[in-house]
Amino acid sequence: MNYITSWCRIRQNAVTANGQTVFEDRASGLPDFLTNTYRYLQIDYPKFYKMDRLCQLGFLAAEVMLRGRTLKEEYPPESVAVVLANRHSSLDTDVRYQESMSGIPSPALFVYTLPNIVIGEICIRHQIKGENTFFVQEQFDIPFLNDYTGQLLEQGAALAVIGGWVDVFQDQYEAFLYLAGQKQTPGSVIHNRQNVSALYGIVDAGS
């Protein structure tokens, strides 16, 4: 049996963690909302400013989800997997990079023209060294993600998994991350399709 012990959702200018609203900024566009969230959380990680919006969104979701806990003290770094998906891949940055090609292309933009870079940023920040995969899907396929992450846990390929959806394109964005693993904590729910769906949809799951 595996358990979801933390989750975070960012959409419609609000950050929610474990069912509680952490931060809201209804007035800002996405770039300012991301920066304001970073400042509100009082994170000291200057590299945040260099990231593209997809990475900033995923970084913040992971940051909020793992707030108050140190993952490497709970699980060996090599045993934590990250499996994410989205609809728009890195298109938001691809478009901006293409635009920069009319002048001198930006190397700093170019390094973000892959969707899995967001996984790299999360892994660097939280010192995660396990398996990672990024899927591009038409829509958030919870049964697929649940089965994939569940299989990693059940087969022993990972002791914990960060799974979820991190998508950005222009003004559209959404992040939903959850941490599932062998360890049960107060408030955790069983890792299954129903609970992932519930946490993603209404943030009010039963175990």
Binding site: P46, G103, I104, P107, A108
Partner: protein, 86 residues
């Protein structure tokens, strides 16, 4: 020279997305890489782009990079020595 260094600091902050810094927080002789501002290899490429975009200077010999980009002052000296007049 002083004015050029101030201009460079503002451009470095903008080009490298160093919004957590103000120009006053970057020392004229502070190392830009490793110990100082902690810039990385991608930042080095962005600095090359910055010189080309804003000052019309192409670095012909890449081996000169570490010397040119040692500090804001060394960049300013390179710009003053290589910028076309007029």
């Amino acid at each position: 020279m002083e004015s050029l260094m101030q201009d460079l600091k503002a451009k470095i902050i903008g080009q490298l997305n160093l919004q957590h810094l103000s120009p006053e927080q970057i020392g004229d002789d502070e190392p830009l890489f490793v110990d100082g501002l902690g810039l990385d290899s991608i930042d080095a490429l962005e600095l090359i782009v910055m010189l080309q975009q804003h000052y019309g200077i192409k670095i012909a010999n890449p081996e000169e990079g570490p010397k040119i980009f040692r500090s804001v002052r060394s960049i300013a000296e390179y710009v003053m020595a290589h910028q076309k007049v007029g």
